[in-house]
């Protein structure tokens, strides 16, 4: 039996997990579910030794335990099958299982012994591959099985599966379920993190729901149905800081037809009107980010057409011509990870902002001083900084995001593509950013945003498209949409009917 008590973890000012207690009995498959960002993965990382809790205790079979690394956790009895795999591609299956605790004599590996042990474990988990195969030659499902075999080999008591079926085909999902049931019969404690409700009801006997880092409820699966579970997951406080604006005009701002971000992705077509903020909603990794990035020109394999209207001028876009071409044609892209993909942290504010303006210039054009313009813009956007010369890395998240937006305001873009507009931004700056976007579309331009926060999508946007498996499965009016209805559409692909358990 594993029990965690009052686990708390914050990253900076954001509390990811607040005083959560959970118990998993022997021979139980315990589901952990909740919306995007509810704290499921954080909780599992704390148990798996990947990150350390700020406070709280953990008991394994009655003894208090603490793990500094995933390896300590593994040999302390906790095996995690990570969402992102922790295997190394150039290692063989046997080496992967023994990495970090190789069998050696005098510094030399006892290879045959490790191969035999690996064959035994692979046989146990029902994976018929050679222990000498390299990880890079295995399918995702096989890699997952190797991770499980590693746990079996270390004789782990607790098995954590973090969204294990996200990358698996139907056949492999069946295999995985069989294996989980086998572990269950062997009396292991199994945590199953997922937001695929049908799998949860199929596999798990107990369900814990998390919301905004807090524990909502733990109940036997038999006492819950899909609809009650969904209503337990949603219901975040709606802020009143969303600015209201004029309704969108009837003129089109962007027309997207037969867009495919990759050759094997489904086709999507949609329009955005002038003055409109369009939201792309869905569960994480369902293809909404690919759609947005395809429009930004990130993927060279993109096919499909995009036409936009800058005032009355019609602009034809080439989506396979790269981000630079899209910027020249007035499409600005604000990536989710502004620190890695957006800003130059070690440069001052004015240089970060001025980049947007210069990107339209020929490469031999002289760079004119833009400090005055930047200063004025910083005033308009209320950037809290000592001046245009302050380094961007010293700014708060909200001010960094304003600098990011400011870059494109100055570039005269008429279409903004924004991922997670307020990630890592405090509430006060959130409201200001929403207002900035409202003001921006007020001039006959448009914005497409993507956000994990359902209430942000509902509050900020004029229209919502729900994406599931790369397809647009529902179009919703935020006046009538609820977190519940969006989540339902995102999970089942069907916005109207009741879900079957």
């Amino acid at each position: 039996m594993i029990r965690v008590e009052n686990l708390t973890k914050s990253f900076g000012p954001v509390v990811c997990l607040d005083q959560v207690s959970v118990t998993c009995e022997d021979g139980s498959v315990h589901a952990l579910t909740g919306e995007n960002g509810a704290g499921k993965s954080t909780l599992m990382k704390l148990i798996g030794g990947v990150i350390k809790p700020d406070s709280g205790k953990m008991f394994l079979d009655g003894d208090e335990v603490q793990f500094a690394t995933p390896r300590e956790a593994l040999f302390g009895g906790i095996s995690t099958v990570f969402q992102e795999f922790s295997l190394i591609e150039n290692m063989s299956v046997a080496e992967s299982i023994f990495l970090g605790h190789e069998r050696v004599s005098g510094g030399l590996l006892r290879k045959s012994e490790m191969f035999e042990e690996t064959e035994r474990v692979l046989d146990h988990v029902g994976l018929g591959i050679s222990p000498k195969r390299l990880i890079s030659t295995l399918s995702v499902a096989e890699q997952q099985m190797v991770e499980i075999a590693r746990g079996v080999s270390a004789n782990a008591k607790v098995f954590i599966f973090d969204e294990p079926t996200a990358a698996l085909g139907d056949e492999d999902v069946k295999k995985l379920k069989r294996l989980i049931r086998e572990l269950q019969r062997a009396g292991k404690n199994i945590f199953y993190v997922s937001h695929r409700l049908e799998e949860i009801f199929d596999l798990c006997d107990t369900i814990t729901v998390l919301k905004d880092g807090a524990h909502v409820t733990t109940k036997p699966a038999a006492d819950l149905c899909v609809d009650t579970l969904v209503s337990l997951m949603v219901g975040r406080e709606m802020g009143d800081w969303f600015p209201s604006g004029n309704p969108p005009q009837s003129d089109l701002s962007v027309q997207v037809r037969e867009l495919r971000p990759a050759s094997d992705a489904p086709e999507v077509s949609f329009d955005v009107r002038k003055g409109e903020i369009l939201g792309l909603a869905g569960l994480e990794g369902q293809g909404q980010q690919e759609i947005l990035r395809a429009l930004a020109g990130v993927y060279p394999e993109t096919t499909g057409s995009m036409v936009s209207w800058n005032d009355v001028t019609e602009v034809q876009h080439r989506l396979d011509a790269g981000v630079g071409s899209q910027v020249m044609k007035g499409v600005a892209f604000v990536p989710e990870d502004r620190k890695k993909e957006g800003l130059y942290l070690t440069l001052p504010i004015d240089q970060n902002i001025a980049l947007g303006q210069h990107q339209k210039n020929g490469f031999l054009r002289f760079v004119r001083k833009t400090r005055d313009k930047v200063q004025a813009l910083m005033g308009q956007m209320n950037v809290a900084a000592s001046g245009p010369g302050q380094l961007v890395e010293t700014l708060s998240g909200g001010n960094q995001q304003k600098v990011m937006l400011g870059r494109w305001f100055l570039s005269d873009a008429h279409v903004f593509l924004i991922e997670e507009p307020t990630r890592g931004v405090d509430i006060g700056a959130k409201a200001e950013i929403y207002q900035l976007l409202r003001d921006f579309v007020g001039g006959g331009r448009s914005v497409i945003v993507l956000s994990r926060e359902m209430n942000e999508i509902i509050g900020l946007c004029d229209r919502i498209l729900v994406v599931r498996a790369g397809e647009i499965v529902a179009e919703m009016d935020p006046e009538t949409a609820t977190e519940h209805s969006i989540l339902r559409a995102a999970i089942t692909g069907d916005p109207t009917q009741e879900m079957a358990a």
Binding site: V50, T69, P70, R71, E72, F85, S86, L87, I88, E89, N90, M91, S92, E95, L99, G100, H101, E102, V104, G107, L108, L109, K111, S130, K132, R133, L134, S136, T137
Partner: protein, 313 residues
């Protein structure tokens, strides 16, 4: 990391060594047919003498490349050890100083890359400049005498075979044992595959990196002793051409510069190929300037085959 397109195996991480072997054989056959001297006893003896120091340096270089790094200080280390071993001091002390200096240089390189996060080329280029400066201070012009014990280990015959061959065999044996059989070798491959995941598996990444650079310096120091004995001189800059040559040989041997894929046998093939080509061009009277162009092109082609997944090292 993608497996190399040629010679794919589902169980081998030896990089492109099979392709290298194929090219070595083609070049060897081509030279045997086009020249009369290539297979002569004198020329094969020359080949062994020429290839041995390169093999020593390249095996060390490969250890660092397998971790995902690069060591451009090997040429400087060769020069320094050649200078130290010919100093007019007690031969045992000189040998101890050679080993100690290689150790220090390796540790500094490893810490600069692993602990301070300096780009491997910049880190080792800096130590290279410093080390060459020290070597030139100790001995501004070539000179000095090689100790007697070392003199006997080069330029003689053992069992009717050139003694240099045994240097090569010993180096290959050490390289194979280290990379294919030892725990350290596995961990070197692992951090070349993914540093973060190796850390998750409990591998001490920094320690492994430092050890890799130390091993590389040790191999380079051995090459320095060999060269000092062969030319009977301590020459501070004798090793400098070996830096680029060792990188070329490693690339020709199919070792991936992203780290994690490659083998000691592949490095041997790379050294043979480079040695055969330069020997062959001499036999065919190709001008040394043209030879320089050819070796530069070879490096470019070999690197293109082992193209990095990401830009930078």
């Amino acid at each position: 990391m993608k497996l190399p397109a040629l010679g794919i195996s589902t169980t081998s991480r030896k990089g492109g060594q099979n392709l290298s072997l194929l090219i070595v054989l083609i070049v060897a056959i081509g030279l045997s047919v086009s020249t009369q001297e290539f297979l002569s006893g004198e020329n094969t003896h020359n080949l062994v003498v020429q290839i041995t120091p390169l093999l020593l340096v390249a095996l060390g270089q490969a250890v660092v490349v397998l971790t995902g790094g690069l060591d451009v200080s090997v040429g400087a280390v060769i020069g320094l050890s050649a200078v130290i071993i010919t100093l007019p001091i007690d031969p045992n002390l000189a040998l101890a100083l050679v080993v100690a200096s290689a150790l220090v240089i390796g540790v500094v390189n490893g810490l600069a890359v692993g602990a301070l996060g300096i780009h491997p080329i910049i880190a080792t280029l800096s130590t290279s400049t410093i080390v060459t400066g020290i070597a030139l201070t100790l001995r501004p012009t070539p000179g000095g005498d090689v100790p007697l014990w070392l003199d006997r280990l080069v330029g003689t015959d053992v069992f009717g075979l050139p003694v240099e061959l045994f240097w090569s065999l010993a180096a290959i044996a050490i390289g194979l044992a280290l990379l294919q059989r030892s725990r350290l070798g596995l961990q070197i491959h692992a951090i070349g595959g993914s540093q973060s995941n190796a850390r998750l598996a409990g591998i001490k990444v920094l320690r492994t990196q430092v050890l890799a650079y130390v091993i590389c310096s040790m191999f380079a120091a051995a090459a320095g002793l060999f060269l000092a004995s062969r030319i009977s001189d301590g020459d501070a800059i004798v090793g400098l051409p070996f830096t680029l040559m060792s990188i070329t040989a490693v690339a020709l041997g199919g070792v991936q510069f992203t780290g994690g894929l490659g083998s000691a046998t592949g490095v041997l093939f790379g050294c043979l190929l480079l040695g055969f080509l330069s020997n062959g061009m001499n036999l065919l009277n190709v001008s040394p300037f043209l030879q320089s162009i050819v070796s530069g092109l070879l490096l470019l082609i070999a690197i293109a085959f082992t193209r990095r997944k990401t830009i930078g090292i």
